[in-house]
Symmetry: C2
């Protein structure tokens, strides 16, 4: 941890403990320099970090003050999925919703992507150009297959600096995390097998299960802590499960972050049952806390965790560069990769390799995280202000989604259509479930719209919700 | 057809008909200009084309002469595959062979790629740079999914100029033809189904069948004309076949070119049986004849042909840009694409789009074809000179593979290992068959080694074959 991070953490602990109260003035920069013998830049950076995290605010000519806590609504309730495995049929709803998000001129609260303007696209373009200019033609062919060797080494180094052991040989470069997840799933299942998934879950997971003709067992997933281990243990006792597909860090759509101890127990449980864990960790770098949360793979001694991630949400959207570090299944994944899409495009590999080697990724990530944290603050403030008080919402510790539970009268699909007519997209709850549950839920993306779009869009949405609430409640389902 | 192409064709007809005999001098450029009222450049280009195709040769200060015909060995025999469908298990041999080809310092006669130095990589690099520089960040996300709309339109225009009707909407951009073929196959099959394939066939086809747990029915495939329709009709009468996966233009590994009339009958037969045809046409642009051979899709009125191709062998190796024009199955393919790899990398899409729009593709292709035709001449000359006379070999009309049938004493796998010890790779026959047939066959790539590498490598290979022939014949299998 850097000095300024340590200082920021210390102040944050004091705020959380109540030692420093909302509205109180922090020691001035000059006082802090003197009292702690640190450099001015350390204090400035620490304060900037706390400001980005929404813990303090600067007031002109007065200094820094502890902010009132994020307006906190009640958390959505834990959903209890049906206990047995079932086939997965993804209807056209997902494609319809995703299509509507892609239209121009829509405020993309329903989007799955962060705003591409948040990324160093110009520098990546320069790295792509320089990489292609210097490339020997024969190298083009050598970078096919599981990926450029040096890129795989850079990815392995990044695992190391995040406290995870993964060798370059274990890593297969893929077309985004989406391909990595699909290949891992195929490597450990056969048609008809059951796979344990979260409830709600990412619709891409449902599509993958449908494509491979797998059955789903949904496991209760808490909006704050993620997969409930007692529910999972029940499932494993009851059914032969071929794999789990979970997202322990900033789950999509909940934003839930599984605590480290719970991840450790999860890996121990699955190792005991000899069930592979497909770990989707694409949002792992987008944390608002002091440091990166370990992935479940950090607790894996026997190679049962297949860790999948990508650069699509953290560095390079559109370059389609992801990877799997698939433990004991690495060779099987590599083989599937060779026979399905052969390789990731060389220009994308070169761009990311050169970027990682030149350094600056961590600096970019700090900047990206502070921008996303600011937007989260703004989104939660607007929801508290403009949504009816019955609406429940998560307080995500990372990523760029909030999960919203609407009152039972409000049908999310109807809200989705009404919002579209006002040029706002949302992601309605039913696309996150194999049996169209979560009919009164929404996933909202605060990382894609422009900051100044958030308030008017959320205000409109709040008004629409209030309108729908005036009708009698639908039968619960 | 351009004027020089018409002139070249006319002369070629005279050579083939024997009007112009080997060793005879062609009319001088000046005489031809006068006798036909054409421009000097038309004559020069026509002669250059004929020279590239190996039909005439320039002799210093004497003019152009009809060349002796390509030294012609006997054609390999038609193989008779086992009549019934069977499961496909691709053993590690394919991976071992492909791995050995990727090593540096090996003369890559076993490679699947043409020499990357034959491609306009510098111009593509410039197009990539310019495209990324001009790209609006939001466009990054709009180009995900089935592909950039303008790129799909450019591909549709190319179909049109090749005499094929395909709309931009029908086209899904994929990670090389490999992904297109895999998605098409998955769109029309379920695990356990039977798929008709060529014998021998591309190992990628076998890997795809294995991955999707499909059974193979191999259809007799002539080294010159491709799939034998009577054999196919027998198969269709006998078994419920969910799809055919064929390569009518310059089949890999045979190099066979199915005549247009036969393609038409093929499409009629499959339409009658309502069996989709997955058409792999990645080598279609690499013809040595006067014009591009039509794909089977040109004869398809009812949307049963799923045409797959890519830029990997004709323009941009390593960019992983392919596509499927999947007829009535287009939406199903698009859906599978979205849920498996989402999209092709935007830098690759931009590079190819800008290249196609700026023009020059046809000029590059003419140059590429003449270079490959020259290498074919050289390879056939060296094989005729250095291989024992019992060896049979194809005379491909396009692409960059010859298929070699060795005497029954010579085991291709043993030859593969011996050749590797001499730093030469070959692709042994058994990797092109689900049941490891073609034990006395080789696929040789004359388009990847440098021109000056061909003679020494083929001389060494000929010597190794002669050595192995001195041993008693193995039992036929």
């Amino acid at each position: 941890m850097k000095k300024y991070e340590a200082l920021a953490e210390e102040i944050e602990v004091q705020i959380t403990a109540g030692t420093l109260r909302p509205g109180e003035r922090l020691p001035s920069v000059r006082e802090t320099i003197a009292s702690r013998s640190v450099s001015p830049s350390t204090v400035f950076e620490a304060y900037a970090l706390l400001e980005a995290r929404g813990r303090i605010e600067a007031r002109a000519r007065s200094g820094f003050f502890v902010k009132a806590p994020t307006p906190q609504r009640s958390e959505p309730l834990l959903a209890r999925p049906q206990p047995n495995s079932h086939t997965v049929i993804v209807n056209d709803l997902v494609l319809e919703v995703l299509g509507s998000i892609r239209e121009r001129g829509i405020v993309p609260l329903g989007s799955a992507f962060p705003n591409p303007a948040l990324f160093p696209l110009e520098r990546l373009a320069r790295e792509t150009s320089a990489g292609l200019r210097e490339l020997e033609p024969e190298q083009m062919l050598h970078d096919l297959g599981p990926g450029n060797q040096e890129l795989r080494r850079q990815i392995a180094l990044r695992y190391m600096s995040n406290g995870v052991v993964a060798s370059a040989d274990e890593i297969v470069v893929t077309s985004g995390a989406m391909e990595a997840l699909n290949l891992c799933l195929q490597a450990v299942t056969r048609p008809g097998d059951a796979v344990a998934i979260e409830s709600p879950t990412f619709y891409g997971c449902l599509q993958a299960l449908e494509r491979l003709q797998l059955r789903a067992v949904e496991v209760a997933t808490h909006p704050r802590d993620g997969v409930q281990l007692d529910s999972l243990e029940n499932v494993l006792q009851r059914e032969r499960v071929s794999a789990c597909w979970f997202m322990p860090n900033f789950q999509n759509p909940l934003g839930a972050l599984m605590p480290a101890e719970q991840k450790k127990q999860l890996v121990q449980m699955l190792t005991r049952h000899q069930v592979p864990l497909i770990e989707d960790d694409v949002y792992g770098e987008l944390y608002f806390g002091v440091r990166r949360a370990l992935p479940a793979k950090a607790f894996d001694d026997e190679g049962w965790v297949m860790h999948c991630s990508s650069m699509s949400k953290s560095l390079a959207p559109g370059y389609r560069l992801g990877w799997a570090a698939a433990g004991r299944f690495a060779r099987a994944v590599e083989r599937l990769k060779l026979s399905s899409t052969l390789s990731v495009a060389v220009p994308s590999q070169l761009a990311v390799l050169r970027y990682l080697r030149a350094g600056g990724f961590d600096k970019h990530l700090r900047h990206l995280r502070s921008l996303l944290a600011l937007r989260r603050e703004e989104a939660l403030r607007c929801i508290a202000r403009h949504f009816p008080s019955e609406v429940r919402v998560t307080l995500p510790q990372g990523g760029y989604f909030v999960w919203v539970e609407l009152p039972p009268q409000v049908d999310a699909l109807e809200l989705h259509r009404l919002a579209l007519s006002q040029s706002i997209s949302v992601a309605p709850g039913p696309i996150f479930s194999a049996d169209q549950r979560f009919r009164h839920h929404l996933r909202l993306n605060y990382g894609h719209p422009r900051l100044e779009q958030l308030e008017p869009a959320l205000k409109t949405l709040g008004r629409l919700v209030a309108g729908l609430m005036k009708r009698p409640a639908l039968m619960p389902r």
